[in-house]
Structure formats: structure tokens, C-alpha cells
């Protein structure tokens, strides 16, 4: 059986040949919540962008496939891809302060996909917006709908973006570090809100984060990315009990407990980092020899 979303052997590099993703494999079953962790620059966002068809122009796909409901997204032309993604997937972005258009009112930014892309009537879209704002617990929805983004707080804006992501009942949502830009106090609320919305709607969710505490809270499975390579692909319970890769083990001890954000960060040791780097470089040589 093919998975709902299946990334096969995906390699992406810059024009100058520098590799960004290294033969990435990843499977998500329908309704699965998968965490995607790794340090900054590991390529987490690039995986999400590749799925959604919004890779920066400087990057090229060397090989691989992204099977979404059995269809390889990389074989679609831009128009077909837009249609597929617009109707079936959504993104919860990292920075709610920059992800809303400052010139447009909030209401329009939630309804536009429903009306322009999916052909809903305006009244249906507006009604849906009220329901969604209620779901993400935004008080005074009427005022919010008529507001401009700068009139709302960061937490409010992220709630709007969550509502907007769930608006068209997409089958897949990619949340790219949806709480990093927020206050610590707001972070927890947003994480549980996303978890709650996911289980209510049964959406398949790829949750990018570097917070293992978040993973333990909302995810069932987990991929650990290092230098664009998946070095651990396992279920969350197995990972926390018995991580197989030395880097994962180091990551676990390095992560402050979710309940105690003030505990000291123990950095991953140089030795482990170097050994993983060597491993990756060796694989790179094999990869380029094979081509």
C-alpha cells in the first residue's frame, strides 16, 4: 500500500552543486502527525517547500518523487501543481507577523482561497470564516474580520493563519515552526490548538520544529534531519525510549524538558557532530559516483 504522502529519495541542491536535501525518504499515513526536527539549516523548511511547490528558484531537484495521494507532484506542471496543492494542502507559516498581507483585511485573507480557487459562494465562505474563528477561539470575530493585520497581536495572527489553513478542509497541513516567532506563553496555547484542530479534522500533519517537547506532545512519528539527511525515522514512543542514532541520543539530552524550559541546554558534542558529518560526506561521494 502506498502511503498518503510519500517522499522517495528526494535530493535537492543549489545551482553550484551544494546539496541541500540528501536522498530524503519519508512516509505519512492518512491522519498521521509527523514531527520533523533538526538544527537550523538542516533543510526542514525545504522539505515542506518541495511538497508545496514553493522551492526558491535557486534550488533544483536532482531526483526523487513526492507521491501525494498516489500522484507524483514533481511530474505535474505548475498549473496542475497549484490546483492540487490549493485544493488539498495548506501551510501554517513560521512568522505570523509577515505571513499576512498588510494591505488586505483579515476576512479576505481567510476567504480568498475558498472563493477564488475553490469556487465557494461569498456567503458560504463568510459563514465558514465565523465557524473557524470560533474554533480557534478568537473573540469578537466581526471586528477581527474587518481588521488589518497590524491591528492584531502575534498570537491572534497565528490563530488566524491556523484558521485559514484549515478553512478548505485540506487533507495535508504543513506547519513550519509555527511557534518559534511567538512569546513563550503563547507558544503552548498555539501548539495545543494545532493538535486539537488536527485531531478534530483528522488532517495529516507534518510538524516542523526544533522543540522535542512539542514533538512528544502532538506527534506520533518523527524524522530527524541532519545536513539534509534523514538520520532517524521512527515512532515518537520508540524515539524517546530508545533513539537509535547517536545524534538523536545527543539531541534528547540536549533538549530542555518541555516542562522546564529554563533547564540548561547541553550542546550536542563536537565528536558526534563530526562523525555524522563524515558519514554524510561519505554518502555524498557515493552518490556523486553513482551519477
Amino acid at each position: 500500500m502506498t502511503a498518503f504522502l510519500s517522499i522517495r529519495n528526494l535530493s535537492i541542491s543549489l545551482q553550484n552543486g551544494e546539496r541541500i536535501l540528501r536522498s530524503v525518504n519519508m512516509d505519512l499515513a492518512r491522519g498521521d502527525v509527523r514531527g520533523l526536527v533538526g538544527e537550523s539549516g538542516a533543510g526542514k523548511s525545504m522539505i515542506g517547500k518541495a511538497i508545496l511547490g514553493i522551492l526558491p528558484r535557486a534550488l533544483k531537484i536532482d531526483e526523487g518523487e513526492i507521491l501525494f495521494q498516489g500522484k507524483n507532484l514533481l511530474n505535474l506542471n505548475p498549473r496542475e501543481l497549484r490546483k492540487e496543492i490549493g485544493a488539498n494542502a495548506a501551510l501554517i507559516p513560521q512568522d505570523p507577523l509577515t505571513a499576512l498581507n498588510p494591505s488586505h483585511r483579515i476576512g479576505r485573507q481567510i476567504t480568498n482561497r475558498l472563493i477564488d480557487i475553490l469556487g465557494w459562494s461569498k456567503s458560504d465562505a463568510v459563514k465558514r470564516t465565523y465557524d473557524l474563528l470560533d474554533e480557534v477561539r478568537i473573540p469578537d470575530p466581526k471586528r477581527v474580520i474587518n481588521s488589518f493585520p497590524h491591528e492584531l497581536s502575534g498570537g491572534m495572527r497565528q490563530r488566524i493563519l491556523i484558521a485559514s489553513a484549515f478553512a478548505a478542509e485540506p487533507k495535508l497541513i504543513i506547519a513550519d515552526e509555527p511557534t518559534t516567532a511567538l512569546d513563550v506563553t503563547v507558544q503552548k496555547q498555539i501548539v495545543s490548538l494545532i493538535g486539537e484542530m488536527q485531531s478534530r479534522h483528522g488532517t495529516t500533519l507534518l510538524f516542523v520544529t526544533h522543540d522535542l517537547g512539542v514533538v512528544s506532545k502532538v506527534c506520533q512519528s518523527l524524522s530527524v534531519l541532519f545536513l539534509g539527511k534523514v538520520i532517524e525515522d521512527t515512532s515518537v514512543s520508540l524515539f524517546f525510549d530508545n533513539p537509535s542514532h547517536p545524534y538523536s541520543r545527543a539531541l534528547l539530552t540536549a533538549t530542555p524538558k518541555y516542562t522546564d524550559p529554563n533547564s540548561d541546554l547541553i550542546p550536542v558534542s563536537e565528536k558526534i557532530l563530526n562523525s555524522v558529518k563524515e558519514e554524510v560526506l561519505r554518502l555524498d561521494r557515493e552518490w556523486s559516483n553513482g551519477r
Binding site: L52, G53, I54, R57, R79, R82, K83, I85, G86, A87, A89, A90, L91, P93, Q94, D95, T98, A99, L100, N101, P102, S103, H104, N112, R113, D116, I117, F148, H150, E151, L161
Partner: protein
């Protein structure tokens, strides 16, 4: 409330600017060599004749006295009498104003259309060869001044292929009987196609010549601004919603990219208005600029003063207008 306060401050600063300009112009044109009286009289006029004329026009008094006589006239709406044309300055200047306004606004419109189209095209085709070509055209357009474009057009479309009229504002045989001096606007309102076409055949070359450098600036600024905007998260997010590249550029990026461009375009537009002086001369277009050059040649001091004040007023009003539009269009300022 903040908008009103802003407006008040701006109007105050306009008044200060105008007073400053009046003083400077008044003094400068009296200090430079050449005097209006000797221009008026035939050679061989006696000292007596000269003195009588000086007294008639008040040039026998000190500069300070002259200034206060003039400014008190201005404040009561009397800008004096033109020495060379022997008519009230105010009615002369207001009679020419519509011609210059129509020419500059037409040029601005053309500049926005040309510049806007080029920048959108450049953004749509960014990182392709065509973007490079567009940048090249831009650079060339910017480095050739408006009057040179005027000369080129006269040679090409006035002499080699005489498509357009090379001088005047309207063909004399048309002998129109309009109620305002805004011929172009009035011909549109009256749906008078014959006059409209004739006006355009006169105005198009000078207007395009004026517009090209501004179009290039608009195109460059707007493209730069669009380019930066296209990288922002809300643009990316709208892509994931299924919107096409064209929609993303026009509806998501453009409204935000236009704002920062606008203030600069406002400043550049005042340069364009300044450019009308030479362009109007080149095309013998009966506007303020052309009149200004005649006034300077004739040392017609009251007329020069009147024209300069009017130009200064237009410049400051344009800046005020840009500022207000910016405030109105920017949601952050509008509500803040």
C-alpha cells in the same frame, strides 16, 4: 486627528516655502545685470525717459520698499502688471497654467503606464534574459534627458516621418470656442474627437519626451520594490493557496510595492514639471514654461515673479498630495 495635524503642519510649511521663494526670486532678479527699462526703450532714449518709466514701475524705490509694495499686492490678489505684455500678471499666468498642467499630467500618466508595465513585465520575467533587456532599456531611458528625447522625436516623427505636429498646442484653423483653457479635458468631456486628436497630435511628442526619464525611474523603483515584496511570506503563502504567478504579482505584491515607490515618484514628478520649461520651448507649446523663458529674455520682473511663485506653489502642492495619498493608502497610518 493625526492626519489633520499633519495637514496643518504641511500647509504651514508650504506658506514658509512660498515666502522664502518670493524673497529669493525678488532679490535675485533685481541683482543680476540687465534691467527691464532699457529693454523697453528704443536706443537713444533720454535719461529723462528712463527715469519716468522707472518711477512708473516703481524701480526707483529701494529693493525692500519694492518688495513690500509687491507682496502686499500679492496678498490682495494683485501680482502686478507684465512689463512686456502690459497685462495683469495673474490673468496671464492663469491663462497659461492649464496648458502646462495638461502636458505634465499627461506625461505623468504616460510615465506611470510605461514604467508600471515595464516593472511588472520585468518582475514576471525575472531571472530571464528579458529582464536583462528591460534593465538595459531602463538604463538608457534614464541617462538621456527629456529635451534630448524631444529633439529625437522631432527629427523622427516630425521631420523624417511627419506623423505629429512639431509646434504649438492646437492647430489654428480649428478655432475652438471652449469655456475653459483645459482643452484636452474639455474635448474629452464634450466628446469632441476632432479636437482631441489634434491636441494629442501636438502633445504626444512633448509629453512622451517628458515622461521617459520618469518612466524609467518608476520602472526601476517599482521593480526593485516588487522584487523584495515577492520574497515575503504572505506572497509565498498565497502561492500555496493555488494562486497563479500573475495574481500573486498583481494582487498580493503590487499594492504593497507601490507605496514606498510613490513618495519618490512624487519628488520626480516635480522634476518633470521643471522639465516642461525647456520642452515647451522646444515644441513652441503655449504653456507657462514657454512664457517663463520669454519673461526672462525681456527682463519682465513682475511676470517672472508671478510664474516662479506659481511653480513653487505647484511643487509644494504636489508634495502635499503625495503625502496625503500615502497616508490614505497605507492602512497602518490611516488607522494609527
Amino acid at each position: 486627528m493625526p492626519i489633520l495635524k499633519r495637514l496643518f503642519i504641511r500647509i504651514l510649511s508650504i506658506a514658509v516655502t512660498l515666502i522664502g521663494v518670493s524673497i529669493i526670486v525678488f532679490v535675485v532678479i533685481r541683482v543680476v545685470p540687465g534691467n527691464p527699462i532699457s529693454m523697453m526703450l528704443p536706443p537713444g532714449a533720454t535719461d529723462d525717459d528712463i527715469l519716468r518709466l522707472k518711477i512708473l514701475y516703481g524701480f526707483d524705490k529701494s529693493i525692500i520698499e519694492q518688495f513690500f509694495i509687491w507682496i502686499s499686492g500679492v496678498l490682495s490678489g494683485d501680482f502686478g502688471t507684465s512689463i512686456s505684455l502690459r497685462q495683469p500678471v495673474l490673468s496671464l499666468v492663469l491663462g497659461r497654467l492649464p496648458a502646462t498642467l495638461e502636458l505634465s499630467l499627461l506625461a505623468l500618466l504616460i510615465a506611470c503606464i510605461l514604467g508600471g508595465t515595464l516593472s511588472l513585465l520585468g518582475t514576471r520575467l525575472r531571472e530571464t534574459k528579458i529582464e536583462g533587456i528591460i534593465d538595459g532599456i531602463n538604463g538608457m531611458a534614464m541617462s538621456i534627458p527629456d529635451f534630448l528625447w524631444g529633439l529625437i522625436f522631432i527629427l523622427l516623427f516630425g521631420v523624417m516621418w511627419p506623423i505629429f505636429h512639431i509646434s504649438g498646442r492646437i492647430s489654428p484653423f480649428l478655432d475652438i470656442d471652449y469655456s475653459t483653457q483645459f482643452y484636452l479635458v474639455e474635448s474629452i468631456v464634450r466628446f469632441d474627437l476632432k479636437v482631441f486628436a489634434d491636441l494629442l497630435a501636438h502633445m504626444l511628442m512633448p509629453a512622451v519626451a517628458l515622461s521617459i526619464p520618469l518612466a524609467a525611474i518608476i520602472s526601476q523603483l517599482l521593480k526593485q520594490s516588487l522584487k523584495e515584496t515577492m520574497h515575503l511570506d504572505y506572497v509565498t503563502l498565497s502561492r500555496t493557496k493555488g494562486y497563479s504567478e500573475n495574481h500573486v504579482i498583481l494582487r498580493e505584491a503590487l499594492p504593497n510595492a507601490v507605496l514606498p515607490t510613490m513618495t519618490l515618484v512624487g519628488v520626480q514628478f516635480t522634476f518633470l514639471i521643471g522639465g516642461t520649461v525647456i520642452i515647451e520651448r522646444l515644441f513652441s507649446y503655449e504653456g507657462l514654461g514657454n512664457m517663463a523663458i520669454d519673461a526672462v529674455i525681456n527682463r519682465d520682473l513682475p511676470l517672472i515673479q508671478g510664474i516662479v511663485i506659481l511653480f513653487a506653489l505647484i511643487f509644494t502642492l504636489v508634495n502635499l498630495l503625495v503625502d496625503l495619498t500615502y497616508t490614505l493608502l497605507n492602512p497602518k497610518l490611516r488607522n494609527g
